[in-house]
Subunit: 406 residues, 4 copies
Amino acid sequence: MLKLDFHPAGRHFLQIPGPSPVPDRILRAMSYPTIDHRGPEFGALGLKVLDGIKKIFKTTQPVVIYPASGTGAWEAALANTLSPGDTVLMYETGHFATLWKKMAENLGLKPEFLGLPGIEGWRRGVQPDMIEARLREDRGYAIKAVCVVHNETSTGVTSEIAAVRRAIDAAGHPALLLVDTISGLASADYRHDEWGVDVTVSGSQKGLMLPPGISFNAVSQKAIKASETATLPRAFWGWDEIIEMNKQGYWPYTPSTNLLYGLSEALDMILDEGLEQVFARHQRLAAACRAAVNAWGLPIQCADPSVYSPVLTGVMTPEGVDADAVRKLIYEHFDMSLGTGLGKLKGRMFRIGHLGDCNDLTLMATLAGCEMGLKLAGVKLEGSGVAAAMDYLTSHAAKPQLKAAA
Amino acid sequence: MLKLDFHPAGRHFLQIPGPSPVPDRILRAMSYPTIDHRGPEFGALGLKVLDGIKKIFKTTQPVVIYPASGTGAWEAALANTLSPGDTVLMYETGHFATLWKKMAENLGLKPEFLGLPGIEGWRRGVQPDMIEARLREDRGYAIKAVCVVHNETSTGVTSEIAAVRRAIDAAGHPALLLVDTISGLASADYRHDEWGVDVTVSGSQKGLMLPPGISFNAVSQKAIKASETATLPRAFWGWDEIIEMNKQGYWPYTPSTNLLYGLSEALDMILDEGLEQVFARHQRLAAACRAAVNAWGLPIQCADPSVYSPVLTGVMTPEGVDADAVRKLIYEHFDMSLGTGLGKLKGRMFRIGHLGDCNDLTLMATLAGCEMGLKLAGVKLEGSGVAAAMDYLTSHAAKPQLKAAA
Amino acid sequence: MLKLDFHPAGRHFLQIPGPSPVPDRILRAMSYPTIDHRGPEFGALGLKVLDGIKKIFKTTQPVVIYPASGTGAWEAALANTLSPGDTVLMYETGHFATLWKKMAENLGLKPEFLGLPGIEGWRRGVQPDMIEARLREDRGYAIKAVCVVHNETSTGVTSEIAAVRRAIDAAGHPALLLVDTISGLASADYRHDEWGVDVTVSGSQKGLMLPPGISFNAVSQKAIKASETATLPRAFWGWDEIIEMNKQGYWPYTPSTNLLYGLSEALDMILDEGLEQVFARHQRLAAACRAAVNAWGLPIQCADPSVYSPVLTGVMTPEGVDADAVRKLIYEHFDMSLGTGLGKLKGRMFRIGHLGDCNDLTLMATLAGCEMGLKLAGVKLEGSGVAAAMDYLTSHAAKPQLKAAA
Amino acid sequence: MLKLDFHPAGRHFLQIPGPSPVPDRILRAMSYPTIDHRGPEFGALGLKVLDGIKKIFKTTQPVVIYPASGTGAWEAALANTLSPGDTVLMYETGHFATLWKKMAENLGLKPEFLGLPGIEGWRRGVQPDMIEARLREDRGYAIKAVCVVHNETSTGVTSEIAAVRRAIDAAGHPALLLVDTISGLASADYRHDEWGVDVTVSGSQKGLMLPPGISFNAVSQKAIKASETATLPRAFWGWDEIIEMNKQGYWPYTPSTNLLYGLSEALDMILDEGLEQVFARHQRLAAACRAAVNAWGLPIQCADPSVYSPVLTGVMTPEGVDADAVRKLIYEHFDMSLGTGLGKLKGRMFRIGHLGDCNDLTLMATLAGCEMGLKLAGVKLEGSGVAAAMDYLTSHAAKPQLKAAA
């Protein structure tokens, strides 16, 4: 039997920026017995989740659900719209943007990587003016797509996609706009249609509160049109057959049935709370978290307050303090998982996830674990982050949250 | 379908002194399909839990498991050992001791209620000298049993049972010693055999981390002997048939199969952590909790530090502050359940449970919720309890707790 | 970890007449985290199940739910309404009627046991004329209660309660009517109010499809009136406080929270299918089962077709064939549990449960297992029971049963 | 909340050839909370499942596990080993072989499709002599890979892979051997190393008894060598990084954590029963199923007894009887899902799955449902298949199967 419990007692705190904690309700829904993916019950399930997920992306256009994890949906976005040798303009927001660029290379595309230099570039959002300038230069429209990451999970920066859209439009350039909001969806406001995104890539294990294993492409009509001439080889990732069969609630090959049960439940939970309320809750918790980091006197990785992420907060450790040693100490003493520093940031920072199934007291436990761990690690703190976060929470939107109170 | 989720998002914090949070592992074990209670698999389950539960009571004598909640086990202890009109000496530690006395009256017994006067009596443990004195007076041995509560759930006081035993022995009195440790078992050290207890009463929904629904009588040979002549009517509660059939792992009537699955898992968890480690963990968390209450400048309900409960802490609110209003505010704002003041303490205090599946960060979340709630309720606090608790936790037994760290 | 799986592969068939197989939906509902039994969510749950369960009993009067298994509810029915030394008229339908009588003796009552002589008495239902005759003799109304078992689980006989009511009325006798329908409720039609029953006793692990652990007393106003003067000692079983607190959805002591989650789900399932449809389904499956037994040429334990049980069928084995050896062989070869012969019927018969979460194919698997087991045990069968059951099922009420078909 | 229950009562019988019924044990294991895929617990899980799955494939070489369903693993096998324009020799065993060929075309490969003509070709296994002859002609080694389906799910034919290996060797041809055993793995004997397979493709939702969502490539050193020069674009499917990180139990991108919990449990179950015992059980159930079909007088789709599938049996309906109408009738009356006729066989046959978590009584229920449904559909049957299957089961390997019996 599965025996993963290294822990003496009490609940593990999973405070990485995804996979986020999966609510019991969703785990229970996922334990419904697997059914015939060609039977009438499945069709009803399929139609329900295909309709519901559109509300989360704020789109009326098709959302393709893959029985694959998020990296696959990255590949799908490229493989459906581009041809070998195509130039794509990608923006370096951090580690995940870098991985996406590496994938584009592996698939035979020619990515151009824009961005501010050095680590500073990883502390700010996408610079739309740089994109606009580059597109204006591209008179022959060699650039077929602009690829940006909405919520960069490695840094805690949430770029403004509407501004990227405006930049493309200002340049009068026909490139497709491909956006990764794997870690942003259902936590940060996102508007696939309004922002004119052509393909939005996302995954299950973040704001949707599901285990990893399914992923998404929300696609525009322009993207579908592009897919008709795009020649990158594709079979599993091909949109056309999926979109066609989805009309009846089915898939051309076996879908990930039990994760779709989970998705059905997650949609109920999110739409029941209200999507805007979900966003407001994330903003509130993120602000409280930043109040704590500021009180500690530690720098927040994101250097531009206008693009602070509501999903996670990157905390830089002082010179000479190995952030991973702090993380290990916290894991061992307080049974909490935090995110590591990735790529250029390895050992320089840790990441606190405050997304999905998170509330005030979960956050307070998280911050207490960080504060105690930092102290045990010998880090000098200017003040109590926990106290600052409590101040924030009691002075902002401190109103009864339970419906039972009504 | 069951729809109990009044909560917008995130985990509810159930910090009442029982039912305590049921770990996922136990909920999963309880969802094993119900089996034939007369089949060979059941016998194996029965023998396993009947053997394991003895280790928790620290006894080699029979432990009777009832498919009933704890109140039933109170009745069983009385009904098996006493006869109509018998005098029993009961000690008033608080609300639950008072309820047990009321039950004794309902069953036709004559309880005598000892105790210190007024609310002060509810702030201290059992006074063994009072018991000894009363028993010395009872030359004719009219008193058939001495009944005390080990961990009084309404106050947070854990009386010394060994001292009660010594008091009875010092008086040379033949009365049975009946002890309720419903909320103490598997959280506070308890020694049925060593302390010479005749019947120990307990339940599932506290330190054993199970849902309510099964309960226990650990019985001495002296108690069994008494049951042979005791004449209170009994059928469901009768020990004899149960103990006889338990030898093969079965019960005379249908046992609570799925709760026994949970008990099996709970025993694995507790014995894997180590019973003494479980007790030490409870002591550590309780001390951190009291550090917080002291820092707030609020009185702890238990006025004698030698009998502080490791299970729960009673917090008295200042004059004029309705403790239940504070609890309601905390419930509505922070999705946390705390225990109410019971009986004489109604409105005067609230109770923080820190038992069972509890760890450092769960406690920190709990204390943060209390501190924020008290502030929102307008209670003046002397200082930050959260800071005091973090100080305690980082300076006491702050060592790696995960086996993975080894 | 719990490791009960002795089985190589595939689902165990639990075809005893209770505990019946618990549907996955109910097991999932039961794994909802335990909540505060004094909080607002609990009150909502309590009111829901207390209202719903009345529909199952077909009553508008109180139904008391105990956190205890069915045997406890037997005791509750007696303890609340009777006084030490009271005479009760009980009818011997089988083993469980006999156990209830033994309980009455243990509680200090004076049961009179009516019934037809020998094993023949265990093959027929309650004889109302015998009850009427006895009551007519009882000019001084010494008899305080008439106790009968509705669905006798040891034999597969479902007595007509309305006829017992008529017998009491015909005799003009004031005795209370206490009925055990532990294994009949929610499988066989039952009408607490219409039939003028004073206390109906039932349990969770049969037609309600729950694990064992909660049980019921449906009570009439006459029974409540009787409880005001009845003097059997009672505390845990006392109706008054429970009924009073139930008005708000709460209980005076800790209820069996997670089984109440299960009850909530079971009520949804049963009322969604429709109570009359549930009864019809049981009748249909029982008839198919009897068609099989008849085809085998084996006697059905119940000798009166007008009182065949829709819940279970008792199958008598030929002279010289130990029914328990057949059961063991079936268990070991086909991973199916059947009911044993109880009391006077030990080794003479086995019992096939076809109750609760049972459908056509479950029944066919069950009958195939019996038929193969009987053959392997060397029992000569007249014909194929499986074929006969298939004939019955295809020729009776063979209509589309899935809503998806609409 | 998820509400898929169209069924009035009782368990649905999912007897399609996959997804197969997921045992409760696996569903429970999958409901363990999602953990950090970079933490120490995950590494332990990863190493366990990566080691265990090799035993199922009978290989000591790497097995790559994808967080994607089986169709993806088909693509991975091709994308890692081949280059655009490569010729591949594929054998038409049925519908799934045809789909794999279509995928090869979509990916820019040049598949050659061998096979016997017409529907007859779908009733027999791979003809190794045809493969050998074609390879002998290919003097210039234009053919880069031979692709065959081991267990063709659309027909119920299990081809002999060892013979294909011998054919390739006899021809002295260097082509890779790629085998799809998506529906055969862990049900039919399979030997990746002994049979010299270069890439074996499989999935989770068949013999492994998991929900769909993860899939496999077992790879030989020769295949890895080929991947170094193969130029089909690949990123998500690339073996190299995965195999490298798997050495520590991790994956380069987020794996499907909760399905890996399920895999861990499935491996325990299968290896505990014993892989050879699992195969024998499937053979026994398949033989009983065929005995039934023969007794009905209906043709089995597979016309060559030497390649009968132990996983599923295809049943051809008589001329004029629409097999899908029979399936629909069975679904609606008996709550059982059967497989449809695919491709050339649409409306001509239905498929009975008897794989994974299946035992004697599950099979008997399934056959009874088929027999009753065929009768209700007006199909004339020669005799009772149910009786024939019972005869088979009681006369073959009819021995106690429960360990408890020991």
